[in-house]
Symmetry: C2
Subunit: 371 residues, 2 copies
Amino acid sequence: MTDLARATALLTIDVAAIVANWKRLSALVAPAEASAVVKADCYGLGMEHIAPALSAAGCQSFFVACVNEGIALRRILPAAVIHVLSGPLGGDEGEFAAHNLIPVLNSLAQITGWAGFAKKGSGAPAAAIHIDTGMNRLGLSETELERLAAKPEITAAIRPILVMSHLACADDADSPMNARQLTTLRRLASHLPALPQSIAASSGIFLGRGFHLGLVRPGAALYGLNPMPGRPNPMSQVVKLQGKIVQVRDVDSPQTVGYGATHRVEGKRKLAVVAVGYADGWFRSLSNRGHGMIGGMKVPVAGRISMDLTTFDVTDVPAEHAHPGAWIELIGPDLSPDRVADEAGTIGYEILTSLGRRHHRRWTGTETAKS
Amino acid sequence: MTDLARATALLTIDVAAIVANWKRLSALVAPAEASAVVKADCYGLGMEHIAPALSAAGCQSFFVACVNEGIALRRILPAAVIHVLSGPLGGDEGEFAAHNLIPVLNSLAQITGWAGFAKKGSGAPAAAIHIDTGMNRLGLSETELERLAAKPEITAAIRPILVMSHLACADDADSPMNARQLTTLRRLASHLPALPQSIAASSGIFLGRGFHLGLVRPGAALYGLNPMPGRPNPMSQVVKLQGKIVQVRDVDSPQTVGYGATHRVEGKRKLAVVAVGYADGWFRSLSNRGHGMIGGMKVPVAGRISMDLTTFDVTDVPAEHAHPGAWIELIGPDLSPDRVADEAGTIGYEILTSLGRRHHRRWTGTETAKS
């Protein structure tokens, strides 16, 4: 019996859709370069399967969060340009050199530390400089930039190839923060030598040409999340999650369902128990709020979601669809990660990165596709 | 450079504390048997490291959610009694036989299917029967039990060794559901031959002797979650999660922090950015609500939690504690998973099962401990 036949949760990732999304964004921003953000294992979807497909499609630059992810990506893509967003954290500079990883330098302390390392002549790769323009998370402040500008030998030592910043409110096109941050980046970058600049991630790309600069850094949009919340999603759907029905119960007297007895059944109802729970990343906050799709019909979550199981009310679904062994769609063409996130009280990003470990995963639409 | 030195998130699991918790419960319920629920990879904490320690301490019976988990556990514990809560889902009966896994049979259809398989003489293991007493999730209804009682040859064919049910409100000792479910189990079990019975999981154990029956099935309490919410936790803490500070920022003018600019800094503040985000299972719902501990002080989350990063306000923390490279405690002795769950709007169970994949994990207090 194959793993697939035994699986109770099936996660299908459409790599061809990811590639199509990247190509669409790449065409949209040309002549700016479109990189790909593949941190957190491609938002939980499998860097090993996705990064090679993006590279084959022409993507040359990649962003990861930390040095461990950079080392993992280097094994997959020997020739790619790999940026590590956290930069060196002290003592790990040699790893950046050994694996040819470009550190994103986020503070004056990181810059001086890296300059010291680079001066030792140990083959340090080039670097990117991150300027804070209002996110107040990582990046150099104006004061730090002024101090750096006073020491051009340090800037020369780190051989910068990119100046970047990050928008705080890009998913709200009406926010005055966006234009303000772009203006600030332009102004602060003047403290540095002329370099390619980057400020736009997925949502920022859709703020207009002025935000594309030299390079854009889409992540969420590649994986099918809507970069323009509240407007039609221009990206192709990527993820499909299905849960297997373990049992169908007929309830004919008034009873409660699940932990805490939070859901009460009044009339004659049919309940389907699916072998997916919050340990699989199907958020507990979907209890009594989320829904699934089966046979083209919407079925509501009944009661609290358990660790390994979720109960749906399938009263109106014909028995040929709702039977033990049948699949209920939990994320898919009619139920986007953004929609699930709305019902769970979070954002699509967290839905993707939380997708559990017990799913059987399939990658489709790639030469390296495997089941 | 070791993986540990490069790690930005460090998860330490005290296996000795898990064993101590199991021993305490075992002594509490004796002569009833204390099993261990190790589903979902021991609630996300690593079955491979924990199950052998429990077995060495004397635990003989284990519960997993699905057949894949059963097969994985059989590789670790060749001689243990392993129950699979979902039972066979059609076509996978041979896997139960091949790996000597006891199916928990949750419906009349599963029972008749398993009886048919067992009659083929293919070495089917014994089985457990799950009776629903009010959870309305999995388990035989009274009607199904009456129909089963009319066909004793089916019951004989499956060789049942345990009758079990599951409490819906065990964490609320005042709920009338508890006694009602126990009474219902006693009454419905009379349709079957005399067998050991089980109804209590972690919280049920603390409802009193009457709920211990032949076997108890603790999971959460083994892993340090409080089986009696609102009262002092009788269990030892198991999990410690630390995040490394990537950068410390001094902010001296009124500014906003993070995505959506939801947090506003008014005076002179010091902010620490930690390399743990919601992709690591540090829930996004902790944004502007959660806290960490450093140098014995409580530090609040400032702004929205990002995928890879969380910002804390460390203004009041001395610089010898809050500096790049230092650790902030996110779960630990002073910040239980239950407490984090309160702040995140969920339960400790979901905090544990969501702990991310990027953590560097250490198991301590076991002969098989490794770093």
